[in-house]
């Protein structure tokens, strides 16, 4: 384990109904980097995030935060500086955009600080700013996804876990979303772990990537390696050797 590791899954296995969704996986997120998790459907990418967040019970292995092992409990993760933005634009549709953002900083008891962070997040996503009083169900899919990310930002995370942020978004929006992610990463030093099938969009922003297949890590690549090794095509064609 390296010193700069912020979040580290060490030999983690997860069982779903007797089937190994993750099999002794070793994945880490270092300070300030953007890491991608890639692989075909059912490879266990999302499960990695869930395991780190307490949403999937560990059959074996450990999760470490800043070098210390701990048991992830979902509602305590935000306080610890780890935020998960779940798949599928899950915003609180019956709450207004502003309220969605305020909820993101639920653990903060300081109202002024919350308001400041909400403004900051809105400034980050001008599209949301105009609609701040609207109910979130009135937003388009792309806006909802941005709202979900913005909600995560309000918590001021050290580690941001994004599960398929581009799902169901148009290419233009996807570009925007990833540009924002990069911006967050650079301006705040937030570490990002992202599960993504839209691999090409990631190329410009990721520092490192893990390739998973059938619950196992089959490759770990640097940004450079991703471009040159042809691993992306192999993932797409399903030609990974396990």
């Amino acid at each position: 384990m390296k010193k700069e590791d912020l979040l580290h899954l060490k030999g983690v296995s997860v069982l779903y109904g007797g089937v190994k969704a993750l099999d002794k996986v070793d994945v880490s997120l270092r300070r300030g980097e953007i890491v991608a998790l890639m692989g075909p459907n059912g490879a266990g990418k999302s499960t990695v995030l869930k395991a780190a967040f307490g949403l999937a019970p560990l059959a074996s292995g450990q999760v470490m935060l800043e070098g210390r092992p701990f048991t992830p409990v979902v509602h305590e993760m935000v306080r610890r500086g780890v935020v998960l933005v779940p798949q599928g634009r899950r915003v609180f549709t019956r709450l207004s955009i502003e309220e969605n953002l305020e909820i993101g900083a639920y653990f903060l008891k300081d109202r002024e600080e919350t308001a400041r962070r909400v403004e900051e997040a809105l400034a980050f996503f001008p599209a949301l700013k105009k609609k701040r009083k609207l109910k979130a169900r009135a937003l388009s899919g792309g806006e909802q996804q941005m709202l979900a990310i913005a909600r995560g930002l309000v918590a001021g995370p050290r580690a941001l876990l994004l599960d398929e942020p581009s799902l169901g978004l148009s290419p233009k929006i996807i570009k925007e979303v990833f540009a924002k992610i990069k911006e967050i990463n650079e301006s705040k030093g937030t570490s990002v772990m992202v599960v993504e099938h839209n691999l090409k969009s990631l190329l410009g922003i990721v520092d490192r990537a893990y390739v998973l297949d059938k619950g196992k890590v089959v490759a770990e690549e640097t940004a450079e390696g991703l471009r040159t090794s042809g691993i992306l095509e192999r993932v797409f064609m399903g030609k990974l050797e396990t």
């Binding site: 459907n41 990631l202 399903g238 030609k239």
Partner: protein, 252 residues
Amino acid sequence: MTKTDAILKTKGLTKRFDGVRAVDDLSISIAKGKVTSVIGPNGSGKTTLTNVLSGLAEIDGGCVVLHGTVTLKKIRPFDMPSYGMARTFQEVRLFEQMPVIDNVLVVLTERSVFGALFERHGAFHERQAEEALKKVGLWEKRGGLASGLSYGQRKLLEIARVLAVSAGRQMDIIIFDEPFAGLFPKMVKTVSSIIRELRDEGRTVILIEHNMDLIRELSDHVIVMDSGRFLAEGSPAEVLERRDVIEAYLGE
């Protein structure tokens, strides 16, 4: 492909969820007696398409044409067999608290209330169920509850259910929604040979799948969807080489 071979066509088919167009003005046609794969990135609307075709999601616009003659604007789920269709589910929908064999037998009974109540030709059905279960290798497990099966076995049981129902009757169109996901290599082999057999019997197979190797291996024709819309179609070899298809998957 000429128009006459199309056993199933969609015309401007649309399905919305909360303002998101999961299937958007989709017009495709499925050739009779072939394996047609529908592919596309996550969230491109493939599963929604299967749900619309099987009546589990209402049609919001457009229609489905069967055998070139029957035009459907509204599909009720229990009409599926009368249209000659059967399907499996991506998120495995078994009758959990029932024995494995009953999961198969139940789909073979009379469809009418009185028919089912007084039905007594068990032996014939049991043979059909036995055959289907043996094909997927679950015959030994027939007595146990479905909930006791492993994930892969559960997927296989779904397939056995469809096999049994199509064996006795003229089920022309069989939809497999990600049948291979989460299967071990041996099971993958079983399922792909089942699909091939079905096609050889002259049935039409619609296959939703992610694994490109399997698609290449099994399908006669590939239709690509993206964001609910039709993107491309053609033989597996040509479609999978296309720039726009790869981009749809990998992003620009």
